[in-house]
């Protein structure tokens, strides 16, 4: 049974959600972090999720990324329903299909930029030469050619986020989810990171979905979805 009535196989839709709800209950207070979110994201998008603090951005990204499960509704990624997957199945699914960039603590502190970038490919059991070559190419693309042997604590916040982007892309995921990737960065680094993400979006056709508060970041998104109180209140494609 297909609950996605408007399913159209010609336009490659990679994320579909139907009336997503995610409630948090603490005592007798129920917070509706997501309150009926229906969303369709297609391949190649460069989409910003925006909204005030507490509007549900992080929750939405987590549910789409299979890190959190919805109270009601379903998430379908590349025509695969992920809502009912078991823990380990989900981890495996994330490994194969989704790249993640978080606000902080993205990298393994004891590994170099190169090793961090290779890490996901290692989990995918890719051969060493292939891993190595791809990681170096990606680090070059994000402008860190000279920093590949540095450990995270020897790099700036912006450089660390660029390594995180390189790592997220390394396994050629269907899309990359980034929750406030620039929140800890100064404006120069923010601009640099967005340049890189846009370039990857255009050159490698990587789909990016990121949440942000930052107006400069919002300005560069191709589609902006605005949340408020767990609901989509506007959805604009430029």
């Amino acid at each position: 049974m297909n609950q996605f009535a408007d399913y159209n196989p010609i336009i490659m839709s990679i994320i579909k959600t139907n009336n997503l709800e995610r409630f948090y209950t603490e005592g007798d207070v129920t917070v509706k972090a997501l309150n009926g979110v229906s969303l369709n994201i297609e391949e190649g998008e460069f989409t910003a999720i925006v909204g005030p603090s507490g509007s549900g951005k992080t929750t939405l990204l987590n549910v789409i990324g299979g890190l959190d499960s919805p109270t009601n509704g379903a998430v379908e990624i590349a025509n695969t329903e992920i809502t009912n997957m078991k823990d380990n199945e989900l981890i495996d699914f994330r490994l194969k299909n989704i790249g993640f960039v978080f606000q902080a603590y993205n990298l393994i502190p004891v590994l170099s930029a190169l090793e961090n970038t290779e890490f996901i490919m290692l989990l995918q059991n890719q051969p060493k030469e292939k891993r190595h070559a791809r990681a170096i190419a990606l680090l070059e693309e994000v402008g860190l050619k000279d920093q590949i042997y540095k450990k995270p604590n020897e790099m700036s916040g912006g450089q660390q986020q660029r390594v995180a982007v390189a790592r997220a892309l390394a396994s050629k995921p269907k899309f990359v989810l980034a929750d406030e990737p620039t929140a800890n960065l100064d404006s120069k680094s923010t601009g640099d990171l967005l340049d890189i993400m846009l370039e990857l979006n255009e050159k490698e056709k990587t789909t990016f979905i990121f949440s942000t508060h930052d107006q400069r970041v919002i300005d560069r998104a191709k589609r902006v979805i605005t949340l408020e109180d767990g609901k989509i209140i506007s959805d604009e494609t430029k």
Partner: protein, 403 residues
């Protein structure tokens, strides 16, 4: 990569890891040290006991053990002796053993008079090594006796003093003979020293007018491992004689030897069990600190088995860096004290009274090092399980949100 990460993670908090490693090192080292000391002490006590006259195998007339009567001597002794002489690696001493009264001008005490052939006796016992004054029996001189220091002290006799030995002969007649003290010996066992005097076998044979009076054949085997098979063979050949091993003669000693081996393991397990708490605690702290990182790893696709293994490998590495070092160092420490002994003479008198030596030569079964290594590995694996399960319980979303 998992090994690389685990290894580098260990060194993230150097001090904390070092504390654990030093604890494991010291635990293993001290465990083996104490065990080697204890084993050395008990082995030496056994050895002392056996070499002060017991030997490895003893043969008697069965009734002699019930009642120390002169008449219960070994029948057909010559035939037995010829057979004993054919056993490879066996040293044999044949003794006349008489219970009697030993007296001097200053007192009298009950004791055993052992009639020996010195050149045989020195092969099965070490009394001659413990001569403090005078000398042991050797070149025959008529009616000479070697007595224990404790007895000499009690009877207030010195070298060349005369003592009188009184006992019943074959016909229950009381016989008294005078002997001149030729030597005073001292063993690790003062009780023994107080009870036993040594005279020439031929003196007793002359006094008793018999050369067929052997009560006790004692064998000292060069190879201790053939003691049991030799006993079986002798017992089969001589069903009418009582053939006993040192384990029958001193079952408590044999029992403590066996118990000791078990004790070694128990001590080691207790030490390692205590260390396990330290390891678990350290790893739990490490995991708590790295919650976000571990949550991130799960989020990006590290599955539970891998996460589990990562913690396990790190814990095992942490434990196994210093455990083997402790083993190797203890091997050399034990080796040193095995050769040179550890001197306890400051507290020595008390030890000697209960049969221990004042200088303890350490003893350790080589297999114990391997067993300890295996125990350390098991400890490491067991200690890794709880922290690893703890890591699995982490919820990636909550870890990343930074609760």
């Amino acid at each position: 990569m998992i090994f690389k990460i685990a290894w580098r993670n260990i060194w993230r908090n150097k001090l904390r890891s070092l504390v654990v490693m030093i604890a494991i090192f010291l635990g293993v080292w001290s465990g083996i040290f104490i065990n080697a000391l204890s084993l050395g002490m008990t082995n030496q006590r056994t050895e002392n006991f056996l070499s002060t006259s017991v030997g490895h195998i003893q043969i008697h007339h069965p009734d002699f053990l019930e009642e120390n009567k002169l008449n219960f001597s070994i029948p057909n002794f010559d035939e037995l002796n010829n057979n004993l002489l054919n056993i490879n690696g066996a040293n044999i001493s044949n003794r006349i053993r008489i219970s009697g009264m030993i007296s001097s001008a200053n007192g009298a005490l009950g004791g055993n008079v052992l009639g020996i052939t010195p050149e045989d006796e020195i092969k099965v016992s070490t009394i001659h090594n413990g001569i403090k004054e005078g000398e042991f029996l050797g070149e025959y001189k008529k009616n000479r006796v070697v007595i224990g220091a404790k007895l000499a002290h009690k009877l207030k006799v010195k070298i060349n003093s005369k003592i009188i030995v009184t006992f019943q002969d074959q016909n229950n007649e009381i016989i008294a003979s005078a002997f001149r003290v030729q030597g005073i010996y001292k063993t690790a066992n003062t009780r023994f020293d107080e009870m036993n005097v040594f005279v020439y076998r031929q003196d007793l044979e002359r006094i008793l007018q018999s050369d067929q009076l052997i009560h006790e054949s004692v064998l000292w085997m060069d190879d201790k491992t053939i003691v049991d098979s030799t006993i079986t063979a002798l017992a089969n050949t001589y069903p009418n004689l009582k053939v006993r091993s040192w384990k029958d003669i001193a079952p408590d000693l044999a029992y403590t030897d066996d118990l000791m081996i078990q004790m070694l393991y128990i001590i080691m397990i207790i030490i390692l069990g205590a260390l396990a708490f330290g390891i678990v605690n350290t790893m739990l702290m490490a995991i708590l600190e790295r919650q976000r990182e571990l949550g991130m790893l799960m989020a990006v696709g590290m599955n539970k088995l891998r996460l589990f293994m990562m913690v396990v490998v790190e814990t095992i590495m942490l434990s196994l860096i210093s455990g083997p070092a402790g083993l190797i160092i203890s091997f050399f420490t034990v080796g040193y004290f095995k050769r040179n002994g550890m001197d306890f003479s400051a507290v020595g008198q008390g030890l000697e009274d209960v049969g221990y030596s004042t200088i303890v030569y350490f003893e350790m079964q080589p297999s114990f090092y391997w067993s300890t290594l295996v125990l350390v590995i098991i400890t490491a694996i067991l200690s890794s399980l709880y922290p690893a399960f703890k890591a699995l319980k982490l919820n990636p979303v909550e870890s990343i949100r930074g609760l």
